[in-house]
Subunit: 274 residues, 2 copies
């Protein structure tokens, strides 16, 4: 990779809007990097779909981002990270990082008692994405996993502090108390939005892991290690693409990111698939 | 349409699994008709997506079903019915019926006080699909509409009688009491699964309208009126197609239909789009 590539953008991909919680951390840590984000809002959610369908969609998204001359690809979606990384790395000739390994590493750094909880979509939990990663890194660790499929629609509906959200969170998370975990991985990029409710239910002493943060640190290390970190002294440009009409995305995305989005475009599914 | 066409199948289309509540009524009423169902499980749900995306997906589904030589198309999805019927009727050369008009007509037949509630997805409610239909049929009717986006994931999660479902239903439906409705249209094919909870919240005196029932009667009338009703004395064949892997669909579908599904196939999105 030559000097020219330093200013190329970093590609971020998610099934919809959740990946912006990762982008937010990356923007904070790497303000001068150019970023191209693609959210597959016409086919969201991925978490309840099959592995083969998720792999197919992820490959299409990666091919689209490659056309934007990205120097790296961040799969900012736990479901896609849990099933599609191997396929991606075979086909895409830029480095690819997911959110599972960074989240697992941070959880291992944080846990004191070696008892870690993981919550995510059906796909992420059924694929044992985090538990196999955690156990590979530390054979002695105890992992307790639970799919929480209703958290995504609740977050998208904006019911962050609603009584029903508390009730559903208690239903999903109560068992973690018995397991005496001291660390809980938020294994879906939507879940950081529900941090407050989740924390109330599992107890303030349980450390919540938002993979966006460690993924951004690993991204930074990677760029520096390979000598492809942007050397610009200006704030990078940020381009956003979605597969459904952008209006609804814009509103929620700006709330997620805490800043205005100017460069937002729709791409046609036909162009994605061909 | 000639005699040959009488034995051709009826096509049913939905974004996923909800349309089976319509198919169930049709199977009961028209047991000797052949049926081909397509559920777009790789891109479900439609209710939170834009009109243009829903129209595009619906046209693709209709083209697929046309290849199965259907003699009629039933759009067994409120969201698709609310935005795509005009486009469909322009392009497809078999009769098309949706679920909005049948549901609206039945509600008008049932109401005594002329005050009708409608619940559905964001798309169906924002498009004022039912209220414009109801008011076209009877200018004096009072209509009260409310989007209930969490009902679909709750139904898919199988939390039919869960405390959280009651709480969410109360949050969505409480206002209908003030409006003193006597009839409530379940304007999404998933909602009949939650009938018991919905009825508890709005009160047993409020008549709930499941569009599947009147849509099946209108379908039957249509087939008889056009002379294309099947004349077979045997039970019809039933073919099911989905765009994601069939395993998860099969389980829920059999619960919805109350019978085994033998003929279930996956179609590739590439084939749907081209």
């Amino acid at each position: 990779m030559n000097f020219m590539n330093r200013s190329n953008p970093i590609g971020f991909f998610d099934s919809g809007i959740g990946g912006l919680t990762v982008v937010k951390e990356a923007m904070r840590l790497l303000p001068n990097e150019n970023i191209v984000y693609f959210g597959d809002t016409a086919r969201v959610p991925y978490g309840s779909k099959s592995n083969s369908t998720v792999i197919e969609y992820t490959m299409q998204a990666a091919r689209f981002l490659m056309k934007k001359n990205i120097k790296m690809l961040v799969v900012a979606c736990n479901t896609a990270s849990s099933v599609a990384l191997d396929e991606l790395r075979k086909e895409i000739n830029v480095p690819v990082i997911g959110v599972i390994e960074p989240g697992a590493k941070m959880a291992l750094d944080e846990t004191k008692n070696g008892r870690i909880g993981v919550i995510g979509t059906y796909a992420t939990i059924n694929n044992k994405a985090y538990s196999s990663q955690l156990k590979k890194l530390n054979g002695k660790i105890k992992v307790f996993e639970k799919a929480c499929p209703l958290f995504v629609p609740l977050a998208e509906e904006g019911w962050l502090d609603h009584k029903a959200t508390h009730l559903i969170a208690r239903e999903y998370l109560e068992e973690f108390k018995e397991h005496e975990i001291d660390t809980l991985i938020l294994g879906c990029t939507h879940y950081p939005i529900l941090t407050e409710t989740i924390s109330k239910v599992v107890g303030k002493k349980v450390k919540l892991i938002n993979s966006g943060l460690p993924a951004s640190y690993i991204l930074k290390n990677y760029l520096e290690g390979r000598g492809i970190r942007s050397q610009s002294v200006q704030i990078g440009y940020h381009e956003f693409y979605v597969s459904d009409v952008p209006a609804k995305f814009k509103n929620i995305a700006e709330r997620f990111l805490g800043r205005k989005i100017d460069n937002l475009n729709k791409i046609d599914l036909e162009d994605l698939i061909k």
